[in-house]
């Protein structure tokens, strides 16, 4: 019985991925908890092409194999992402866990994924046939369902460089360290010439995927702070109606109250 494959380069990894039925193994922190015996792993934890962080005109590009610790030690990774990642688990898990793994595991509780949603990040997916870029919200088709073909690997996460400095981030967990998010919230706000240009709000760990309602956000765009204040009740009502949450370790009602409180706090913080 062959029990897995160790890839030393991206080319080799993509070849194995195309030819065999394998589960990509990056950090192992989720896979080894499941410890399934019926799968073969493709070990990509030492593939150098997946371990790079680079910057281009528009994006900070984080390799899928970059660990949370490596991101925290890097000067190009945006502050918002660092704040979320610094609250993940504990050092030994952050030393192993990767951005690609957080995505690939498909959970709405993934703390780095929340930030990718709120910043409109994109993903670069690679196969032997080439690469394609997808929006992170399109990548998540449902709980544990991803737009990732059986011959593809997540190669990079592309986080926009601009417009994400004014942010809010809250993680609600059962304890300080080693906490799995019960509710997480990230917001990004921006104004230009007195008018709102960005009011992104994303909620993690409360549904099958991270939730973001761009149509409600749109209603604030172009408004002045005073106009937004006048619109606030309607805005909150729209969220309350749309937020149909699932029960998890905590009740759906509790989750919804906390989400609404965090959303209100996000508005207040930005003068609304």
């Amino acid at each position: 019985m062959v029990n897995g494959y160790i890839a030393r380069s991206l080319t080799e990894a993509l070849k194995i991925r195309a030819e065999k039925d394998v589960v990509p193994y990056a950090g192992g922190t989720d896979l080894m908890v499941e410890n399934r015996k019926d799968v073969e792993y493709l070990f990509i934890n030492k593939v150098p092409e997946l371990k790079k962080i680079s910057v281009d005109d528009e994006y900070v590009r984080i390799g899928a194999g970059v660990t949370f610790t490596e991101a925290l030690e890097n000067n190009d990774v945006p502050k918002l992402m660092k704040e979320a990642v610094s609250r993940i688990a504990a050092p030994a898990i952050r030393n192993a866990g990767t951005f690609g793994g957080n995505l690939g595991n498909g959970s709405a509780k993934a703390d780095s994924v929340l930030i990718e949603f709120v910043t409109d990040s994109k993903l670069c997916l690679a196969s032997e046939k080439g690469e394609r870029i997808v929006d992170v919200d399109k990548f998540y088709l449902g709980r544990k369902k991803l737009d990732l073909k059986s011959d593809e690997l997540i190669k990079e996460i592309l986080i926009p460089k601009k417009g994400i400095d004014n942010y809010s981030y809250e993680k609600v967990g059962g304890r300080n360290a080693l906490a799995i998010s019960r509710i997480s919230f990230a917001g990004v706000f921006g104004t230009e010439n007195g008018r709102i240009v960005k009011a992104a709000a994303a909620f993690g760990a409360v549904s099958d995927t991270v939730l973001r309602f761009k149509d409600i956000e749109e209603k604030l765009i172009g408004k002045t702070i005073d106009e937004a204040k006048a619109y606030k009740d309607e805005y909150l009502k729209a969220y309350a109606e749309r937020m149909v949450l699932t029960r998890g370790r905590v009740s759906a009602e509790y989750r919804k109250s906390v989400c609404m409180n965090l959303l209100k706090e996000f508005l207040t913080k930005n003068g609304i």
Binding site: N3, I6, V33, K46, A90, A96
Partner: protein, 157 residues
């Protein structure tokens, strides 16, 4: 079966089992590194902490295929070092050890922390040890011990 080559406590080893075997189980059952404790098997307790290429990992969350070409250190070799002497002295003086089950992990977490940050603040020590659970001491004695080791072992890290 693939051969997995790695260095364990300074000695070259070749493992011929499955790539998906847990490092924790292999260290204990094959190589008899029984300092590596099995607490939870889900990365929650830190009792199975080891250093891989100088970095702290929970060995329960590592498959053997991931350590090909790596160098692993457990307490079996770390206890021969000067740094361990400093930690042992501080842990002993402050009664930071009660049942002892978490201590190999605690000591390696302290080593990982001090290697990166030789003069940590109390908050930094607490963060460095935050993945290691202790059900006996209430943590303060351990935090103080790491603080003392850092001070008294000045220059070792």
């Amino acid at each position: 079966m693939a051969d997995i080559r790695f260095v364990l406590n300074g000695k070259e080893e070749t493992y011929t089992g499955s790539l998906s075997d847990r490092l924790l189980d292999v260290l204990r059952d094959v190589y008899r590194c029984t300092s590596v404790k099995c607490g939870c098997k889900e990365g929650e307790c830190g009792a199975c902490s080891v250093l891989i290429d100088g970095t702290l990992y929970n060995s329960c969350c590592v498959a053997m295929g991931a350590v090909e070409g790596s160098s692993i250190v457990t307490m079996e070799s770390f206890r021969e070092t000067k740094r361990f002497e400093a930690l042992e002295k501080a842990f002993g003086e402050l009664s930071a050890v009660q049942c002892g089950f978490c201590i190999p992990g605690m000591v390696l977490a302290a080593e990982a922390l001090l290697s990166k940050n030789p003069h940590p603040t109390e908050d930094e020590i607490r963060d460095g040890l935050s993945g290691n659970l202790c059900r006996c001491t209430g943590y303060n004695a351990i935090v103080n011990a790491v603080n003392n080791a850092a001070k008294e072992g000045n220059g070792l890290w």
